[in-house]
Amino acid sequence: MNAPILEMKNITKEFPGVKALSDVSFQVAKGEIHCLVGENGAGKSTLMKILSGVYPHGNYNGDVIFNGRVQKFSGISDSEKAGIAIIYQELALIPEMTVYENIFLGHEIKNGLLIDWNETIKQAGEMLKKVNLDINPATKVRNLGVGKQQLVEIAKALSKDVKLLILDEPTSSLNETDSENLLALLRDLKHQGVTSIMISHKLKEVIEIADTITVLRDGQTVATLSKDEVTEHKLIKHMVGREINNIYPKREHKPSQEIVLEVKNWNAYHPTLGRAILKDVSFNLKKGEIIGFAGLIGSGRTELALSIFGNPDGYRLSGELFINGIKKQFHHPQDAIKTGIAYVTEDRKGDGLILIQDVKQNITLANLYKISQRGIVNNNAEIQVANQYKADLNIKTPSVEQKVSNLSGGNQQKVCLGKWLFVGPDILILDEPTRGIDVGAKYEIYTIMKDLVKQGMSIIMISSELPEVLGMSDRVYIVSAGKIAGELNAEEATQEKVMQLATN
């Protein structure tokens, strides 16, 4: 093993009511790719925030030794100066600016007092080459897909002469190809001498890419494994502290033949984009059934869900929608909710949660009337309801009065789910329900889904993780460029078939 570039010694970090890290030690060798795994709320992000100066020195106990020196960062700019760059799951680019402006934002190349745009564009081009991104640096970031934006973020980090690159769940919103690209890039960077730390819940890619893996559990380091000794099974066992053999719970229940939702010849036109986003879509959903929507990111699955769920973005729609055989037209999500449809968004921070409010307020938001009499909210009943979901979904939080912004990513996702379960829908649309969720919790969510359909709920699952779609669905619809490219039964659906249809 090379000499360590980074050593974090006996790190302890407490938040009011939570000990996020207790006495964690963590070592990264120079030039390696080091993966950090662990359950939701294990403390991975917190550890990285300490390393990058988000939690300044004095805010935690223990030592951060980087490049052989004890570092006392008092902010991100300090850690950047030392050569550490962190890329968060939520991208931090400015959409209205061009790629080159974004790359050099904050450390502009100057010629005297003025910005030297020519040099900027030239160097931006070089950085883009380094991350294997073949685009015009003058493109606006808004016009790039998530995968490419992610690469721009990395280019930005590289432009700061980074020695240690930290990526917090970089692939969670990328499709397979983009993920592959990203992993290939990390290997490339490794050869150029950049050390990386990557947090991920996708254990396959972790095993594929890591030189060393550190497992955190409940704020403690439970194992450090080198790539030769690691297996997925072993990792899971360290992560959750027990064996998990099946990733998908057994399918024992058969959906009925009764159709609860049917969409016929459905078209949607996006007024601001100025083009059709859904073309002649038809599908149906039966009572007690789970159908999966597979497809590439950007294929129009979320737009399809939203267009059914009261069309909040104001697409121009045509076609027919039947709920329990009755033709419906929803003008607002409110109408859809009243008819028994719930939609769990893919973007929990953007349009799922109210981050400044607490867990209980988020859980009850979509169904406040249930805990109210004559328009007056019963605060105590609310706490009870929230505690119930906290227990059922195993949400890790010291209390339901904690602000959701203080929860770990995976636990925020569970709050989102709890919120819509409290509505008690007949039809539940889950958009990327397990994004950023650990293996144990994934299994819990799958089990909940199975229980719900057994009780007669019907579920539409949109997911970019093919194994999950195949493992859970009774039927799979493949969406490609706003059209239904095919429909497969659980028995006939394979990864190859789905991918072939999705990319056609």
Partner: protein, 400 residues
């Protein structure tokens, strides 16, 4: 845990909330000392409350507006304009051309409805036409300013002769007939104060019992007792001060009612929750089945109504409608809301906080007036206090 540890913990956890009360208290004590007690005299306190009234009701409405991430600059001149309309509606046509000679009980609902309508128009521009509220209400600011000048063009200041109307801003609630005890004290005010304390205590006990029945955490007993004593002392103290003069003013009654109603709606009802949700994350609120558009109308409509109320209070206090009525009210109301802890980012803020904010700002004016400090320095001090309050708010926010 000892009593002091408990007290410290509760105070630390709620420093944001209690901070304002403490600030108000400190300011009042300061002025009481520097003016040798004149500041705390019954007469001055009544004045203070009546002066705060027309800003306080605006601050209440503005709180909701800022919570949903909007702003309304038109409220000042709207208040002034509607005050003038009310004056004209009541005026004798022989004195004021266009006067309608309407009775007070018709004029007030009429003015309030006009206010709601004006608010709905701003709401329409914001919700339906998607015009930024800053611009939409700036247009309103100009329009209502012009409108005041138009309706007062031929007359200039309109003097109001109606004594019932003028009592709103200057009068006091009647007293119960003299029964020989407590001479020189306003007995109905005293009685209301006692009733308020009793209701408060009952309410607090009920809440505590309900919480306990759910096995939820409640304040430690001593702290709970301390809180009750403290609140009772404040209400008692204010009651005593007011009762020693002419009792509760009508303005105070109106402001109290508005505060109670809005505070109840915002903290206890589904409507209030939805308003906070919209401010916290409009997209999430929309997807949760809350109609953002509808609530934008509701909030701007309520702002319009409170602007009308503010206009009534102000016109009545001056006993006349002037051509400059309402100037800068909007900024005073916005300042009061920010001093009271409303967050510019939306989703955070309390009605009671804004009332306290308004009291802080008028206390500063009143205190400095009594000390004989010039108006120029008053502006500077109030600006500094506004900045300090927001700094305190921002720095304590992260720690909660």
């Amino acid at each position: 845990m000892t009593f002091f540890e408990n007290a410290k913990k509760v105070l630390q956890q709620n420093i944001r909330e209690y901070g304002m009360y403490i600030a108000l208290f400190v300011i009042m004590v300061f002025f009481t000392i520097t003016t040798n007690g004149t500041f705390i005299s019954s007469r001055n306190i009544v004045n203070l409350i009546n002066q705060t009234g027309y800003i306080a009701v605006l601050a209440v409405g503005m709180t909701l507006i800022i919570i949903i991430r909007q702003i309304d600059l038109s409220v000042g001149f709207l208040a002034g304009f509607l005050g003038a309309i009310a004056a004209i509606a009541m005026a004798d046509p022989k004195v004021i051309p266009n006067g309608l000679n309407l009775p007070v009980y018709a004029v007030i609902p009429l003015t309030l409805s006009l206010g709601v309508m004006a608010g709905l128009i701003t709401g329409f521009l914001v919700a339906q036409m998607k015009i930024p509220s800053f611009v939409a209400s700036l247009a309103g600011w100009l329009i209502y300013r012009g409108a005041i000048l138009v309706v007062t063009e031929s007359t200039g200041t309109i003097i109001i002769a109606n004594s019932a109307f003028n009592a709103i801003g200057n009068g006091f609630i009647p007293d119960i007939p003299d029964i020989g005890i407590l001479p020189g004290v306003h007995k109905l005010t005293l009685l209301l104060g006692v009733v308020a304390v009793i209701l408060l205590v009952i309410n607090e006990f009920n809440n505590r019992r309900k919480k306990q029945s759910y096995n939820f955490e409640v304040l430690p007993t001593e702290i709970f007792a301390l809180k009750l004593i403290f609140l009772a002392a404040i209400i008692g103290g204010i009651t005593w001060i007011l009762a020693g003069y002419q009792g509760l003013s009508w303005t105070a009654v109106i402001v109290l009612l508005v505060t109670l109603i809005y505070n109840f709606v915002m903290s206890q009802t589904v409507l209030g929750r939805h308003i906070y949700a919209i401010g916290g994350n409009p997209d999430a609120a929309e997807l949760s089945g809350i109609s953002v558009k509808k609530l934008v109308y509701v909030v701007f409509g309520s702002m319009g109504m409170l602007s009308a109320l503010s206009g009534i209070l102000f016109t009545s206090r001056l006993q006349s409608a002037t051509t400059t009525a309402g100037t800068l009210f909007e900024l005073d109301a916005i300042a009061a809301a920010y001093v009271g802890g409303v967050s510019a980012a939306g989703g955070v803020g309390k009605v009671v906080g804004s009332i306290i904010g308004a009291l802080v700002m008028t206390s500063l004016t009143s205190g400095m007036n009594l000390m004989g400090i010039g108006i120029s320095y008053q502006y500077i001090v109030r600006g500094a206090v506004l900045a300090a309050a927001v700094i305190f708010d921002v720095t304590t926010r992260g720690k909660n």
